[in-house]
Amino acid sequence: MRTTITVNGEARSLDLDPRTTLLDALREHLKLTGAKKGCDHGQCGACTVLVNGVRINSCLSLAVAHDGDEVVSIEGVGTVEKLHPVQQAFLTEDAFQCGYCTPGQICSTLGMLKELEAGWPSQETAPGVKPALTEAEIRERMSGNICRCSAYPQIVAAIKQAAEAMA
């Protein structure tokens, strides 16, 4: 099926088998291998990308269903010359070891900060209260991204630092 998706600001037209997930379209068809295939079942979060600004698991989404959508993967977040504040914070805080989950962690962070700004609650948010970027909120809101190296304390620190840098 002919499908056009804007990926990192560029319209890309693909002829896809309907079975192709958004993750496979990015990795296998567009050779954007930043988003990772960890579990391929929505459990690990390594495939997290932003679709129309919202974070989702790209492994649990059909590419043909994203015709006309705007997708941002880690390749569209920053450049080697000009890192995004979240990328810089992950480096500064040493928020990874093997790095496999990191593209997903960073895309997830970007989506999470927007959700927080919009006042979306998590299970850590008291009823009727606008959520704040506390450690408990960060941990809860990032629970869809697994880090097998368990760099969680550094990831939390990086997210705090990035949020301050972006404020």
Binding site: M1, D17, P18, R19, T21, D40, H41, G42, G45, T48, V54, R55, I56, N57, L60, S61, L62, V64, A65, D67, S108, G111, M112, E115, A118, G119, W120, P121, S122, Q123, T125, P127, G128, R139, E140, R141, S143, G144
Partner: protein, 316 residues
């Protein structure tokens, strides 16, 4: 994944028409549960009708002071809606207790209601399961059934419904609006959407094949406090062992039956002046645990009594 054809529905009428005319057709919205099961070849639709872009995602006030939630609204959108948080906090709390943020951003309201069980034997295609293969037998009966139902199970199936959102919606006495395959709109209580397993556990709802859920409608917020409490093996992003939704005098239990369980015996006892613990004990008198899930009896007893107390505190 088995091959299938795909179409994007132009409107809801066209969607139900396509569903009734195309063999092996299924609706897809967020797809977070359906695609997972398709990868495992537990679900093998021949045709997918994408309803995610139909104009069914709005959350609007109703004339009687309730709220109409479009079936295609994302779980996150509902949980974050200011009117939901103010008037129906139990619903917002239930939604954010389920899945991960990424899943909630993609999953639709109707998809959440129609998600399949997480029973390990339903997922294990090397073992018999009456849901996957009617008549094959239930592996969970003699197997790892720690998370099995304690209410309403049958010798054919002891699986539980795993939605958090649906438990809150049942406590709130939500109604479901649908479009039948012949294109007619109908509405009925959400409590009547899901079936108990009986001898046909593969038939999970009372929907007509090809019927499309278009909205969930909430009555005006109930008087009294609301809360949602869930117990699971880890603190976040895990299916529940048991949950409870309290909305005023209404009580619903999750992960204890093949459907969200409205605790009518407990509600009646509460209305008659029983203490929360006494009321919940009345409900649990009707439970049938299987051995490995016996722990759900004291768990639900304490959880539900604590939740009722918490909701009462919130209404003060």
């Amino acid at each position: 994944m088995k091959a299938f054809t795909y179409e994007r529905a132009s409107d809801a009428q066209a969607a139900v028409r396509a569903a009734s005319e195309t063999p092996g057709a299924r609706f897809i919205a967020g797809g977070t549960n359906l695609l997972d099961l398709m990868k495992l070849e537990i679900e093998q639709p021949q045709h997918l009708i994408d309803v995610s872009r139909l104009p069914m995602a709005a959350i609007e006030p109703t004339a009687d002071g309730g709220l109409r939630i479009g079936a295609a609204a994302s779980n996150s959108q509902v949980a974050g809606d200011a009117r939901v948080r103010a008037g129906y906090p139990v619903l917002s709390e239930a939604i954010v207790a389920g899945g991960s943020p990424q899943l909630r951003n993609k999953a639709s309201v109707a998809g959440n209601l129609l998600q399949r069980t997480r029973c390990a034997y339903f997922y294990d295609t090397s073992k018999p399961c009456n849901k996957r293969q009617p008549g094959a037998g239930c592996s969970a009966l003699e197997g790892l059934n720690r998370n099995a139902a304690i209410f309403g199970a049958s010798p054919a199936c002891i699986a539980t419904h795993t939605s958090d959102m649906a438990v809150a919606l049942v406590a709130l006495e939500a109604r479901v609006e649908t479009l039948t395959p012949s294109g007619e709109a109908r509405a009925f209580p959400l409590l009547e959407l899901h079936r108990l397993p009986g001898e046909t556990p593969h038939v999970e709802t009372h929907l007509i094949p090809g019927e499309l859920i278009t909205a969930v409608v909430l009555p005006p917020p109930p008087k009294g406090g609301q809360t949602y409490r869930k117990v699971r093996d880890r603190a976040s992003y895990a299916g529940g062992l048991a949950s409870v939704a309290v909305a005023g005098g209404n009580l619903a239990l999750g992960m204890v039956a093949h459907k969200p369980w409205r605790a009518v015996d407990a509600e009646a006892a509460l209305a008659a002046g029983a203490s929360p613990a006494e009321a919940v004990a009345k409900e649990l008198a009707g439970a049938s645990p299987l051995g490995r899930n016996d722990f759900k009896i004291p768990l639900v007893a304490r959880l539900a009594a604590a939740a009722i107390g918490e909701a009462n505190g919130r209404s003060a």
